[in-house]
Symmetry: C2
Amino acid sequence: MELHPDVEHLAMLLGTWRGKGSGHYPTIEDFEYFEEVTFGHVGKPFIAYSQKTRDAATELPLHSEAGYFRPVGTTAVELVLVQPSGIVEIHDGILDGTTLRMESTAVLTTPTAKSVTTVHRMIAVGESTLSYDVHMAAVGLPLQHHLSAELHRQ
Amino acid sequence: MELHPDVEHLAMLLGTWRGKGSGHYPTIEDFEYFEEVTFGHVGKPFIAYSQKTRDAATELPLHSEAGYFRPVGTTAVELVLVQPSGIVEIHDGILDGTTLRMESTAVLTTPTAKSVTTVHRMIAVGESTLSYDVHMAAVGLPLQHHLSAELHRQ
């Protein structure tokens, strides 16, 4: 399937990436994880994103999320994302070279989910690596660093 | 991976389903589609949902969506769902036998997405079939029937 021309500038994301990450937040124990991320396309003007992590010690499933990147011209992007913890995120993003900087414009949670109000997501793509950082404001605490990982193209 | 006991009453959803559906809305041409739906689990208290459709005439990719079902006790469910058209949905649902009836409590869209304000989703699981109906209020029109499909367990 040929890549839609509207997402050509996001082609550096496409493929499967694996690696290791770590997370921390004042209300939880620090943790490390193995991660697999896939960015795919079906010839339409969006990039499908899915992600799964496993606990680095036990290898048990930890987190997952899914979403779609929607280009707005060649330097902006919208992201819609969903998490099994009952969280949906909408982001506005800016593409600067091969770095995507996204800030949530809306985060909604289901009635039984933990409160999350703001998420910032940065994704930087190198020659064969993808690194990211996630900042999060949750459970009444201010926006702060939560996750970072470095993944390698498979 | 053993099923988490909190989602045992949703086990009838698990697996891959394929079949045909049709859609209509006052602002678009009627359409028919082939669909594949997967409900999966990783041993945690949620069910992962993903879906893809292809145009029944051209077999080209049409729609996709992804989300997570979160049980609340044994008769209620929360659903978070995301669509590449720039839409996120949060639903409250009720399980009645093997029929899930979900009504959106929030629908948010990205700045460039079409307006959708309310979505109702009904999923009924039979012995080897899964049928669903989607009602939608979009682009200023009242809530009305949009999609129905009958899928078969693979």
